[in-house]
Every structure is written in structure tokens, then in C-alpha cells.
């Protein structure tokens, strides 16, 4: 009598193993290409490194047959369009892409999807409806900056550092911050400067407005600019306010020093370059037959708080950015979170 459930369980186990096996078998012979338009800064380097680590293992494990990276020699749109067309001809089953333009590649993307190729874009996304987009929730990131700040700061004047003007990312983070301030009326943004996601630009911009600023309790920004902000305040001989950090090694290093000195508290977040690996897994999952994956996938940003940033700092190379490489399981979870919405 006792045996039956046992057998049933065993059967279930066998079938589930078989299912997993078949899931892998489906994409075993498939090749995924990565079309990248630029490799010239630390974030892109980290992105390529993460991608390399994860895809090498995926190929070794037999999940996919090949995962080749193609970076264009210049940042030109026609070059990347031609590259995509070449990838179509080489018979890749899927193309993961960090695009040079959200719209101007749509012609080539459409040719790829018409040829039955799965196209997954991330970071530099494409608007062609037949492609997939892995989008980071920048608006929530902006909002969380204020929400986190409200945890330790009672209220007061804030300084905002904007990113590269005219980009959708700058726009999204800014509107998130505005939303956060609306929910926490104890904060007031008294000035904003353009930091271009770069610490030297941010430092210069803040140094210019600093003498005219009232007391500042916090700085809300877009990452890459936190260390420059701290330097500007130090140079002016003013006490550093709570600066939201952006996962860069120099920012976290400074935070660590301050924490040791006076218990400085803040929060850090940014888009992880390893989101390239999520795009890879999404492509693999679609090839595996999961056609129900929504074309716009919202994924969380990578954040650290007072308790866990030091552990992360140890793993970031000097001058680098905190990254996170997705495993297949984590990617499945990220996809599942989007299905719930």
C-alpha cells in the first residue's frame, strides 16, 4: 500500500527531470548572438565581462550551442543595422542587443524577427514591437531614493543631480524623484545641477552652486556622481549631507570610510551591467518555447544598504561598478514576477 505514493513520487521526479532535460534539449543546438554598439566605458566593460562569464558556462553546460559577441567598430546606426543583417545571414536563432538607437534600427530588427529570430534588447532598447525589451524600473529607483532618505532624515532641503540631458533614463529617474518628494512633503528640492553621471562633472557643477545653497540634508542623484558631490562639499568645508550612491567603487569606498569614521548612513542603487545576462536568459527562455513572456520586461535595479554594501564593495574592481550575473533560476524568477502584473 505504502509503495504507490512512493512510485508516484518517483514518477513525478522522473518526469520533472525529463521535463527539465527536454527544456534544455530544445535550445541545445541553438546559437545566440550579442550585438553591442559600444564597449568604451567601465559600465560596458563590466557588461561584457558579466555576459562572458554566464554565456561561457551556458555553452559549456550545453544549454546553448554558441553565444558570440559582436561589437561594432563605431557607434554608427547603419553599422549596427548591417551587423544585425549579417547575424541574420549567419543563422543565429536569437540576437541580444544593446542598441545604438531606440528607433533607427527598427528596420533591421523587423527583418530579423520576420526571419524568425528572437530579438531581446536591454539598456539601449529598441521600440520595434516584435522585439523584447528588458527595462529597468528607473522611475521606481528615483522614488526609492527619497523613500530611503526619509528613513533616517526627518526632512529638509535636497539637492538633485541630473544625468545626461535629453535621455529617457534621466527623464525617468527625475520623475521618480519628483514623485517621491510629493509623497514625502517634508523634503524640498532647492536646486538641481547636471552631473552627466560623471563624478568630475558633478563636482564642478555642485561647486558652482554650493555657495548660494541653504543647508542641504540630502542629495538625490542618478549614480556615478555621488563621489564628486562628496568632494565638492569637502572642498567647500561644508559637512557632507546624506548622498545617495550609485554602486560605483569610488562611491562605496568613500561611504565605507565615512561609516567607519562617523557612522555615515545612506543607500546605493544603480542598473547592474549584468542585466546583459538576464537578456541572454530571456532569449534562451523564449527559444525554449516560452512565447508568453511579455515583450516589455521590467526588472529591478541593484541596491545596497548600510548592512550589505561593504560585502559588495569587496567584489568590485577598482574604478568599476557593482554587477550581478543572473543565473537561469533568477532569470526565470524575474520573468515570473512580470507575468504576475
Amino acid at each position: 500500500m505504502n509503495k504507490t505514493p512512493c512510485v508516484a513520487a518517483l514518477l513525478a521526479a522522473v518526469t520533472s527531470v525529463a521535463l527539465i532535460g527536454s527544456a534544455h534539449a530544445d535550445t541545445k543546438s541553438m546559437r545566440i548572438a550579442f550585438s553591442n554598439n559600444y564597449a568604451g566605458n567601465s559600465w560596458r566593460q563590466a557588461m561584457l565581462k558579466s555576459y562572458d562569464i554566464v554565456t561561457k558556462k551556458a555553452v559549456a553546460d550545453g544549454i546553448v550551442a554558441a553565444a558570440d559577441v559582436f561589437t561594432t567598430a563605431d557607434k554608427e546606426v547603419p553599422t549596427q543595422a548591417a551587423q544585425i543583417q549579417n547575424l541574420i545571414l549567419q543563422g543565429y536563432n536569437a540576437i541580444v542587443i544593446n542598441a545604438s538607437s531606440p528607433d533607427a534600427l527598427n528596420g533591421a530588427i523587423k527583418q530579423a524577427t520576420d526571419a524568425g529570430i528572437v530579438v531581446v534588447s536591454f539598456d539601449g532598447i529598441v521600440t520595434e514591437p516584435s522585439a523584447w525589451r528588458v527595462v529597468v524600473d528607473f522611475k521606481d529607483y528615483g522614488k526609492q531614493e527619497v523613500v530611503q532618505l526619509a528613513k533616517w532624515v526627518k526632512g529638509g532641503n535636497l539637492l538633485e543631480i541630473r544625468g545626461l540631458a535629453g535621455t529617457s533614463i534621466d527623464d525617468a529617474i527625475h520623475s521618480g524623484i519628483a514623485e517621491g518628494v510629493k509623497e514625502h512633503p517634508e523634503f524640498k528640492i532647492v536646486n538641481s545641477v547636471e552631473g552627466d553621471w560623471d563624478q568630475t562633472t558633478a563636482q564642478k557643477a555642485i561647486a558652482t552652486v554650493l555657495p548660494s545653497l541653504p543647508e542641504i540634508v540630502g542629495i538625490v542623484d542618478q549614480g556615478g556622481d555621488g563621489y564628486g558631490a562628496a568632494q565638492a562639499f569637502a572642498a567647500a568645508g561644508r559637512k557632507e549631507p546624506t548622498i545617495i550612491m550609485g554602486n560605483r567603487q569610488d562611491e562605496l569606498e568613500w561611504w565605507k570610510e565615512q561609516k567607519a569614521k562617523n557612522g555615515y548612513t545612506t543607500w546605493s542603487a544603480s542598473i547592474a551591467p549584468g542585466v546583459s545576462t538576464l537578456a541572454f536568459w530571456v532569449a534562451q527562455q523564449i527559444l525554449d518555447g516560452h512565447k508568453d513572456i511579455p515583450h516589455d520586461l521590467l526588472v529591478p535595479y541593484l541596491s545596497f544598504d548600510q548592512d550589505n554594501f561593504e560585502a559588495a564593495l569587496a567584489t568590485i574592481p577598482k574604478g568599476g561598478v557593482a554587477s550581478h550575473e543572473y543565473t537561469l533560476e533568477e532569470a526565470k524568477q524575474a520573468i515570473a514576477n512580470n507575468l504576475k502584473h
Binding site: D68, F70, T71, T72, A73, D74, E76, V77, P78, T79, A81, A82, Q83, Q85, N86, I88, L89, Q90, G91, S100, S101, P102, D103, A104, L105, N106, G107, A108, K110, Q111, G166
Partner: protein, 330 residues
């Protein structure tokens, strides 16, 4: 009748003396194209198909048109450094206005062509180097493109998209387009009598001027033609990409110059070859594909494209030196 026959006999004799070298020179661009195609067929046989050729060459059409535009300018011993940015601007105009407000779009594009003609007039009348004028225009076009389209977007008019994605029977559309362009320009510039004047105004302006032809007019005509082909290049590019970007055609400046030279043209002397220029542009387009198929690292790709150019030019120099020295001007 007799004198005509005599002239043609003389021409035949001259041609015979000149034949081996000229033929060699003329087939050099075709030979380099054949080599690149052979390489592609070797690395990826399935690319040599109706579908594959369509994909590999359709982005070559705007390059071909830009190269022809550059060729007109080079014919009269000038250089257009602004053509790439001009193509970008045309693309932005096409993606923004040609769809929503065709009349305004067409007026702007005609105005652009007029501006090109004006550029030719200014270069001739004020005797300023074209490099200076076109370098200035580069920034003008760039600024205008950003003004028209501050962030990437817009949409190509449907008819433009349909033309560029035409499914011609048997022969892929890009090849048909390239042959038509080459034939039209060849007959206009190489066969017509005014074409000879136009080329002559680059080869020997004094003689043409003394013979009573207006050099102002030849220069204006050539820049006008360059403007027209620049507009065609921008339109075809947007028809393919379906959407524009203020920097979309930037790379075409150098590509077009390289295409003209690769196709047998020379910077001075009015010596150009429309068929060669078309082949040169296609060779450059396919060279990128070949390097991609060969898995050459992108860091080396730009250099490899340059190497192809140098090899072809070196071969041409060798041919020039080997042949007889007389009658080198066509």
C-alpha cells in the same frame, strides 16, 4: 562620312594601344568586388541567395548614392566633407515632415538641393577651397539635424519603405538599383556631350573656359547633382531604417570618398568612373560583411577595411606604372 570613319579608325587605334592597361584599370574595382563576394561565399555559402544578397546589399544603396554624390564633386576637383551630415539631415526631414506634411518636406529638400548649388557657386566665385566651405556646412547640417530631431525617432513615409523593400523578380532589388544608378550616371556623365564638358572642367578648366563654356555653370551643375544624389541617399537610408537619428549618416563622408577612389576615380583631373564608384561602394559595404563573417574582432575591422583600400590602390599604382605613359587621360 569619310572623315567620320577616319576619326573612328583613329580612335580605335588609340584604344588598341591603350587597351591592356585601361582594361586592367577598369576591371580592378570589379575584381576586388568579385574577391570579396567569393570570400563571403566561402565563409557563408547561404548568404549568396536572393534573401542573403538583399540583406547584405540593401544598406549599400544609400552608400552608392552618397558615393555618386561625392563623385560629382570630385569630378570638378573639389571634396565634400559634409555629405554624411547632409544625408543625416535629409533623413531627419524625411522621417519628420515627409510623412506628416509632404509639401513642407519636399520644399525643404528642394531648398537643400538649391543650397548645394549655391555652395558650388560660392566655391567658384569666391575661389574658396571646397574643404573649408563643406567643413562649415558639416556643422550647419549637423546642427539642423539635431534641431529637427533632438532625440531619435520619426517614421519613414510608407511609400519610401515600400520602394526600398521592393521584391523584384529573380534579381534582388539592391542589384537592380545599383545597375540602374550606374547606367543612368554613366550615360549622363561619360556618354553625353555636356557630360564631357563637365568632366573637362575638372580635367582642364582653362581649355573648357576658353572654348566658351561657363565654368560657374559646370560647378553649379555638379554641386546640384551632388545635392540631388545626397537627398536620394538620405531618403533610401530612411526607407530602410524606417526611423531617423540626427547622426545616422555621419559615416558616409569617408565611405563615399573611399568608394569613389576604390572605384577608379582620382582626386584631381576630372577622371572618375560612375560604374567604378558604384562597384567601389558595394565593395566597401560587403567588406564589412566579410570581416564580420570571418569573425575579425571589431577592434581590427576599421583597420582591415583600410587595408583593403590600400591594397587596391597599390594594385592600381602598379598597373599605372607598368603601362605605356602616353594618353593616360581618357
Amino acid at each position: 562620312m569619310t572623315s567620320l570613319a577616319g576619326a573612328s579608325t583613329l580612335r580605335a587605334v588609340v584604344a588598341e594601344v591603350n587597351t591592356p592597361r585601361r582594361i586592367l584599370r577598369a576591371i580592378l574595382p570589379a575584381l576586388s568586388l568579385a574577391l570579396v563576394v567569393a570570400g563571403i561565399a566561402w565563409f557563408n555559402p547561404r548568404a549568396i541567395s536572393y534573401f542573403g544578397i538583399n540583406l547584405m546589399l540593401n544598406l549599400g544603396i544609400p552608400v552608392v548614392l552618397a558615393t555618386i554624390a561625392q563623385m560629382f564633386v570630385i569630378t570638378v576637383n573639389e571634396l565634400d566633407l559634409s555629405i554624411g551630415n547632409f544625408v543625416s539631415f535629409v533623413g531627419c526631414v524625411a522621417a519628420i515632415w515627409l510623412r506628416e506634411n509632404p509639401v513642407l518636406g519636399v520644399v525643404i529638400l528642394i531648398g537643400c538641393i538649391g543650397l548645394y548649388a549655391l555652395m558650388g557657386a560660392v566655391i567658384y566665385l569666391r575661389n574658396v577651397p571646397s574643404i573649408v566651405v563643406t567643413l562649415g556646412m558639416l556643422f550647419v547640417w549637423q546642427g539642423l539635424a539635431v534641431l529637427v530631431l533632438p532625440r531619435p525617432g520619426g517614421k519613414a513615409p510608407a511609400w519610401l519603405h515600400d520602394i526600398m523593400n521592393l521584391r523584384t523578380p529573380y534579381v534582388p532589388f539592391p542589384i537592380v538599383a545599383a545597375v540602374v544608378i550606374a547606367a543612368v550616371v554613366h550615360f549622363g556623365i561619360m556618354q553625353s556631350s555636356y557630360g564631357a564638358i563637365l568632366r573637362g572642367s575638372g580635367g582642364n578648366p582653362n581649355a573648357i573656359g576658353r572654348a566658351g563654356w561657363s565654368l560657374l555653370r559646370t560647378k553649379v551643375v555638379m554641386f546640384l547633382l551632388a545635392g540631388i544624389f545626397g537627398v536620394l541617399s538620405g531618403l533610401s537610408l530612411i526607407g530602410l531604417t524606417t526611423s531617423a537619428d540626427a547622426n545616422i549618416g555621419k559615416g558616409y563622408t569617408l565611405l563615399s570618398i573611399a568608394g569613389v577612389i576604390l572605384g577608379g576615380g582620382e582626386f584631381v583631373g576630372g577622371r572618375v568612373s560612375p560604374i567604378g564608384a558604384v562597384i567601389g561602394a558595394l565593395t566597401l559595404t560587403l567588406a564589412g560583411t566579410l570581416l564580420n563573417f570571418m569573425r575579425i574582432s571589431p577592434d581590427w575591422q576599421v583597420g582591415a577595411e583600410g587595408a583593403i583600400l590600400i591594397i587596391v590602390l597599390a594594385a592600381r599604382a602598379l598597373i599605372n606604372r607598368a603601362g605605356p605613359g602616353v594618353l593616360s587621360h581618357k
